[in-house]
């Protein structure tokens, strides 16, 4: 019996925070009496290893059952007694253990290595470091810890994967990787070196000036004129992403070239080879080595029964696909209807690991246990799909409008066709999105643009699923499970040799009834973990917005900063100029002015987008020679006719609400000081472009130059911080309203950013970061004239009125 064999043992576990590791820890604590677990966990960025275990392992719902059995205090006691934590990392030499850690390891009876990078799309070098070198490091560290003293060397159980067998059809027995007739003999050390070199080369390539320029260009297209610091930050982020992406595809192509579905399977296979060679090396030097068991599960899915039916941790391979399908995002997925999807519930894997741990092989040859269903209890792809489809027809997910989603019929197309279709769709959406992103859209139109982006992201995700997992649905290897059945038999028969129920240590894949497991256990769990909308209750986005609004309008806030154009009013410096310049012109001159500005519009727009500061400076030159008094008088009229008539009443009310709450209100704008002067009663501070004046022929006129840099892009954040400092306010307690990604630095500088009528780029950013988005509109029913022209100046044209009865 497994439990008896392992009782009172000290078991060292890596990867305890993972899916299998958590289930394994739970099973040992619950079913193996008096045993102790020693968990190797990395120190987190914010928490040390011990508290990570508390939070990420022991608080998981896997332990609910044990917690119920022992009570809260009993559970805490038990954890205190039986759970030891050592800080370390399988990605570094000696596992990053200190002396105490080595000491803890050296007293263990069993070492279970379940740490892995399970992501199928991990960068090559990362997969190599963890999956390939991890087992090697474990072996070497055990050698170091046990080499000098006389304690018996522990039994090492490593968790690998069935897919180390590579892309092949037919039987894949439980044999070492090297015995696989299809194994291309390669030197794992050379692969390690190559992976590390690829990382260095890729990194170097990412720093090439052309490439950096490309990153900068992309950053600009994403953020717009957001200012230097924000752009540099994004550029660097793009460079790092590019390196990671390149390494992912490097991994994928290297794996494909050697006959594995992906870098995960490749590095796991080489890991097994490397571990064997390392142990051989240690033996050759005359030292003792651990007995070795290798457990190879296939695709691990939610639990059949232990600790509870359907228990799952994290999002695995099938879940995102299933949910995408149920949400109607994934309309096709490649695969052969009669193909076999090799799925195995996690509790069977855990039992197999423990069975392997309880039954060390007596020889030096590793004991290999495959945990798979394909050979003896196959799940056909068609059956899986039918089950999923039927279930979701009965229990549909609901869209944002509370309507049930009808799942599509799957036609089992070839992978090539699906990938092609999705690529075309993604490419098309990307192009449309780019075009839309460059249009000067606002508010509702921009929201429509954001929808487009969501759709593109969904298509892209679907494509990545197909690329990543498609190979698995087409894999036609049948994994042998002779050793597994042998262990199952042993466990079932028990110590007394009488056949009984396997209890919690079920490890026979024949126990799974697919037609029950999929609809009753797995799918409900997937839907629950995916937090998918299963009822028609309409999700109310207003509720969230109201909550955010409440935070923004709390008395605790200190300061509220506002952009002007498209945040408070639907106007811009060009309109203002047109209004002021046309104010005292005759009809013909006005027409000329308007025609000229319209002709210049595209150029002005482009200049504004490339650098707002330069644009403003050069544009304001046009005011050169304008008499100050006249502009000031006209600006007062412009207040009504231009600013107020194009204002967003909700926005103005918001400014006043902030004032009433005692917040300091600030207007930060690139508009000219003379123009925004009439807005003074709304704000405590107005930071704007300040025009310089001089006296020409006895008249004070504008020079067309500014006295300093206009507050644009990152300068706005600086302005805000400076104001906060001057008045002893906290930016983290402040609010900022802006409409464009060029104000990103301002929005990021405060604790409560609000995107007002955001243009598509900012809409995207605001949505992903969960910012409050306000749609302020001009007063309904009031239509300001299309062209920003002042009412006629001076005496109105006389119209003859035939019905005038008297003349003055």
């Amino acid at each position: 019996m497994i439990a008896d064999a392992l009782s009172a043992k000290r078991i060292f576990i890596t990867g305890a925070t993972g899916f299998v590791g958590t289930a394994l820890t739970e099973r040992i604590l619950r079913c193996v009496p008096e045993s102790t677990v020693v968990l190797l966990v990395r120190d987190g960025r914010r928490r040390d290893a011990r508290s990570r275990v508390e939070r990420e392992v022991l608080r998981n719902d896997a332990f609910d059952r044990l917690r119920d059995e022992l009570g809260k205090d009993g559970f805490a006691d038990m954890a205190q007694r039986r759970v030891e934590v050592v800080a370390g990392d399988v990605g570094t030499d000696r596992l990053g253990l200190d002396a105490a850690g080595l000491q803890a390891l050296s007293t263990c009876d069993v070492v279970i290595h379940s740490a892995a990078t399970v992501a199928f799309d991990a960068p090559l070098d990362r997969a190599v470091e963890v999956n390939l070198l991890g087992p090697v490091r474990i072996a070497r560290t055990i050698d170091e810890a046990f080499g000098t003293h006389g304690r018996p060397v522990p039994h090492l159980v490593t968790v690998s994967t069935c897919y180390v067998a590579g892309n092949r059809r037919g039987a894949a027995p439980e044999e070492p990787v090297r015995s696989n007739p299809f194994f291309v003999d390669i030197d794992w050390q050379a692969e390690v070196a190559a992976a590390r070199r690829t990382r260095a080369d890729t990194d170097a390539a990412s720093r090439h000036p052309d490439r950096l320029a490309e990153f900068a260009k992309t950053a600009r297209s994403v953020l717009g004129p957001a200012g230097g610091p924000a752009l540099s930050e994004r550029t660097e982020q793009l460079r790092r992403d590019w390196v990671a992406d390149s390494l992912v595809s490097a991994g994928r192509s290297r794996a494909a070239s050697l006959g594995w579905p992906d870098a995960y399977a490749l590095t796991k296979a080489l890991g097994e080879v490397a571990l064997g060679e390392t142990l051989d090396g240690i033996r050759a030097e005359g030292r003792r080595t651990p007995t070795l068991s290798v457990v190879r599960p296939s695709i691990i899915e939610s639990a059949l029964a232990e600790p509870s039916p359907g228990w799952i941790r994290g999002f695995r391979m099938a879940e995102p696909i299933i949910l995408s399908y149920a949400r109607g995002l994934l309309k096709e997925f490649p695969g052969v209807p009669e193909g076999i999807v090799d799925v195995i519930p996690v509790d069977l894997v855990v039992s197999a690991i423990l069975a392997a741990a309880a039954n060390p092989s007596s020889s030096e040859a590793p004991d290999i246990v495959q945990v798979a269903s394909g050979g003896i209890n196959p799940l056909q792809y068609q059956v899986l799909v039918d089950n999923v489809r039927d279930w979701f027809l009965e229990h549909p997910l609901h869209d944002d409008h509370g309507q049930p989603i009808v799942v599509p019929d799957w036609t089992f197309p070839g992978r090539g066709r699906v990938e092609r279709q999705l690529r075309v769709a993604t490419g098309g959406l990307e192009r449309v999105e780019r075009i839309v992103g460059n249009l000067p859209l606002r508010g509702r139109a921009a929201r429509w643009g954001a929808q487009l982006e969501l759709r593109r992201a969904a298509a892209q995700r679907a494509l990545s699923y197909v690329e990543l997992y498609g190979a698995y649905t087409e894999c036609e290897a049948v994994y042998g499970v002779d050793r597994l059945l042998e262990l199952a038999d042993l466990e079932a028969r028990g110590a007394d040799g009488v056949e009984g129920s396997p209890g919690p240590m079920q490890l026979d894949p024949r126990a799974i009834e697919w037609d029950d497991y999929i609809p009753r256990i797995h799918l409900p769990s997937v839907v629950k973990h995916g937090r998918a909308a299963t009822t028609g209750a309409k999700r109310d986005p207003e509720r969230r917005a109201n909550r955010l609004r409440g935070q923004v309008l709390s008395e605790q806030r200190h300061l509220a900063a506002f952009d002007l154009e498209n945040t408070l009013i639907a106007s811009n410096v060009v309109s203002t100029y047109a209004w002021l310049a046309g104010r005292r012109l005759g009809t013909a001159d006005r027409a000329r002015l308007v025609a000229r500005l319209l002709a210049e519009a595209p150029g002005l727009l482009a200049a504004d987008r490339s650098d707002r500061s330069d644009f403003l400076r050069s544009f304001y030159r046009r005011y050169e020679g304008a008499p100050v008094e006249q502009i000031r008088a006209d600006a007062a009229d412009a207040m009504s006719d231009l600013l107020l008539s194009r204002s967003f009443p909700d926005a103005l009310r918001r400014v006043r609400e902030h004032r009433r709450l005692g917040h300091r209100t600030v207007l930060i704008t690139g508009a000219l000081d003379l123009v925004v002067e009439p807005l003074a009663p709304l704000f405590d501070d107005i930071v704007c472009a300040e025009a310089t004046t001089e006296v020409r022929n006895g008249v004070e006129v504008l020079t067309g130059h500014l006295s300093g840099a206009p507050p644009t892009a990152e300068a706005r954040a600086a302005v805000l911080r400076e104001l906060c400092e001057r008045h002893g306010l906290d930016p983290a307690e402040s609010v900022a309203y802006a409409d464009s990604s060029s104000d990103l630095s301002l929005l990021e500088a405060v604790g409560f950013p609000v995107a007002v009528n955001p243009e598509p780029r900012l809409a995207t950013i605001a949505r992903t970061r969960g910012w409050l988005i306000e749609e302020f509109d001009t007063a309904r029913g009031h239509r300001p004239p299309l062209l920003p022209l002042a009412p006629r100046w001076g005496r109105p044209r006389q119209r003859r009125r035939p019905l005038d009865r008297t003349a003055p």
Binding site: D650, R653, A779, G781, H782, R783, P791, P796, D804, P808
Partner: protein
């Protein structure tokens, strides 16, 4: 005018609706509707036809100034070196605005001629707009005429009253009821204030001209409040209007403080449409000829098809060809009695008995949206303020009865003219529609708001407190009525106003029956043109 002068204009008419009565014209904001009313229990009140205008208005004005009532001739009260202030009614009168020349232009030109003859050179012209929006240059020019505008405006002596200019306002005392009396300092310091009225309805004129028109919030709050308005029954009937009593008391204080007022009141007939294509709107339906029908169909179709902004432009561009019917000048109260009689002569329609359901078709214009948008608060004010109160004796509708008003009532606002209205609609109305409650909770904040004050003084915005006054205007009706239904109104907006929306007349009557009982009597008050019901 081609109207046959052999016939005297016909008086108003109360028509009992029977099966043969044709559908009746009804204004629906900027649109027109034809509505069939239930036979045998409905009646329609038609306004009197336009009175004959005075042949030579300019001469009539000169004569009135030369022989005023209760005062020496104006020329005798003018002397060289004096301070003369001419105040005149603002853009809210008349409705729609008058074709050139405006009556006020005629009067002001005559006054200025006399002043020039007397050698008066310190003359200020003030648009007495109280807390209304400032008039634009074009509007001032329209009211006073080009000659006057160009002589005074550039020198800064023709301007809008500014009730929020602390330098330019003065408090002259308090009435025996504790009401403060505040007035423009220029007016207070003048040797003579000549007030030029255009009395469109019976509410206008008298001491209300100076005590309200040239005053500010400090004084107005004493009578522009829910308590006063509910005790004004109606505010169109000066002797039964607490609003007027209060104004008269303030006028008394003005008089005893030495403010000399020479009041000039004028009345016009109700000729809104002349003989043009719009004349059908003033005709009684059974008298429509083929041309009338065609022009009605065409106007209705055109208005329905035009976008809102286009409709507004067309309608607000209309200038009415009113004819002057009387000019009275002299001492305020004496003049006002005569003027009110003149208003009644044109507008009064005797009506017997009250009704269960009173029906209005609200037009596109009210005193507060000239060249602007009739927002929901103004819909309330026009319906329950103005139209409801156009009675003498007792209300047209019985206590507990229902008013049905036809208007689209869309939540549309002019952000330049009505900024505080927008906030009132968004902040106050969702909280309360009770005039007393809102007065207590919100009025002060709006009245003293710095931003509204700024917009009132420098822009063309109504004062921050103005939407409250508009709401109070309906206080008497709100207290009197059992319910209000808005026919064809935007449901969400109508509900926010505290009323009930109905999409058809049948639905509206059904809702009304729930309140007043089955088969209610219905009275359609077919206004405009303006009239006043003398209910016995």
């Amino acid at each position: 005018m081609s109207r046959d002068r052999q016939y005297r204009p016909r008086p108003g008419l109360v028509l009992d609706v029977d099966r043969s009565t044709p559908p009746v014209l009804m204004h629906h904001g900027e649109q027109l509707r034809l509505q069939k009313l239930p036979a045998d229990r409905s009646r329609i009140i038609y306004p009197p036809e336009p009175l004959e205008p005075i042949e030579d208005p300019a001469r009539a004005v000169r004569e009135a100034l030369a022989s005023p009532v209760g005062s020496d001739p104006l020329s005798a009260r003018l002397f060289a070196g004096m301070k003369l202030t001419i105040a005149f009614d603002d853009v809210s009168l008349p409705l729609p605005p008058m074709r050139r020349p405006d009556v006020r232009q005629l009067v002001i030109e005559s006054v200025l001629d006399l002043a020039a003859d007397a050698g008066v050179d310190d003359v200020h012209l003030i648009a007495a707009l109280a807390l209304h929006r400032r008039m634009t240059d074009a509007e001032l020019r329209h009211v006073v005429g080009d000659r006057v505008y160009e002589a005074f405006a550039p020198r800064g002596t023709l301007y809008n009253h500014d009730a929020e200019d602390p330098e330019a306002m003065v408090v002259l005392g308090t009435t025996d009821h504790g009401e403060e009396v505040q007035i423009s300092k220029r007016a207070a310091e003048s040797d003579l204030v000549v007030y030029v009225n255009l009395n469109l309805v019976a509410m206008d004129g008298g001491w209300k001209s100076t005590a309200t028109g040239l005053s500010g919030y400090r004084a107005l709050r004493h009578h522009h409040n829910p308590a006063t308005m509910t005790r004004s029954r109606s505010f169109m009937d000066r002797h039964n209007s607490e609003l007027h009593h209060s104004n008269w008391r303030q006028g008394e204080v003005l008089r005893s403080a030495g403010v000399e007022v020479f009041q000039i009141e004028t009345t016009v007939n109700n000729d809104l449409y002349g003989d043009g294509p719009m004349s059908v709107l003033a005709k009684r339906e059974w008298e429509w000829n083929v041309r009338d029908r065609a022009s009605f169909m065409a106007s209705r179709a055109a208005l329905d098809r035009l976008p809102a902004a286009g409709r507004r432009k067309v309608l607000h561009g209309w200038r009415a060809p009113y004819g002057l019917t009387s000019v009275q000048a002299g001492e305020v109260e004496a003049v006002h009695e005569l003027t009110t009689a003149q208003v009644h002569r044109q507008q009064l329609v005797p009506v017997e008995g009250q009704t269960d359901v009173l029906l209005f078709g609200l037009p596109y214009i009210s005193p507060y949206n000239v060249d602007s948008i009739m927002n929901p608060i103004l819909v309330h004010c026009l319906g329950l303020g103005y139209f409801f109160n156009l009675y003498r004796g007792r209300p047209l509708v019985r206590e507990g009865g229902v008013v049905i008003m036809s208007h689209p009532t869309t939540p549309e606002f002019n952000p330049v003219h009505h900024p505080s209205y927008i906030d009132f609609f968004e902040e106050v109305l969702p909280e309360t529609t009770d005039p007393t409650v809102m007065a207590e909770r919100f009025e002060k904040r709006y009245a003293e708001d710095e931003w509204y004050r700024h917009l009132y003084r420098t822009g063309n915005a109504y004062h921050g407190v103005h939407p409250f006054y508009m709401w109070y205007w309906g206080a008497h009706a709100l207290e009197h009525l059992g319910g209000v239904v808005v026919l064809g109104g935007d449901p969400a907006t109508v509900r926010r106003l505290g009323y009930r929306p109905a999409s058809t007349m049948d639905d509206a009557l059904e809702i009304a029956s729930d309140i007043v009982g089955p088969r209610p009597t219905i009275t359609y008050f077919k206004n405009p043109p303006l009239m006043m019901a003398d209910v016995t």
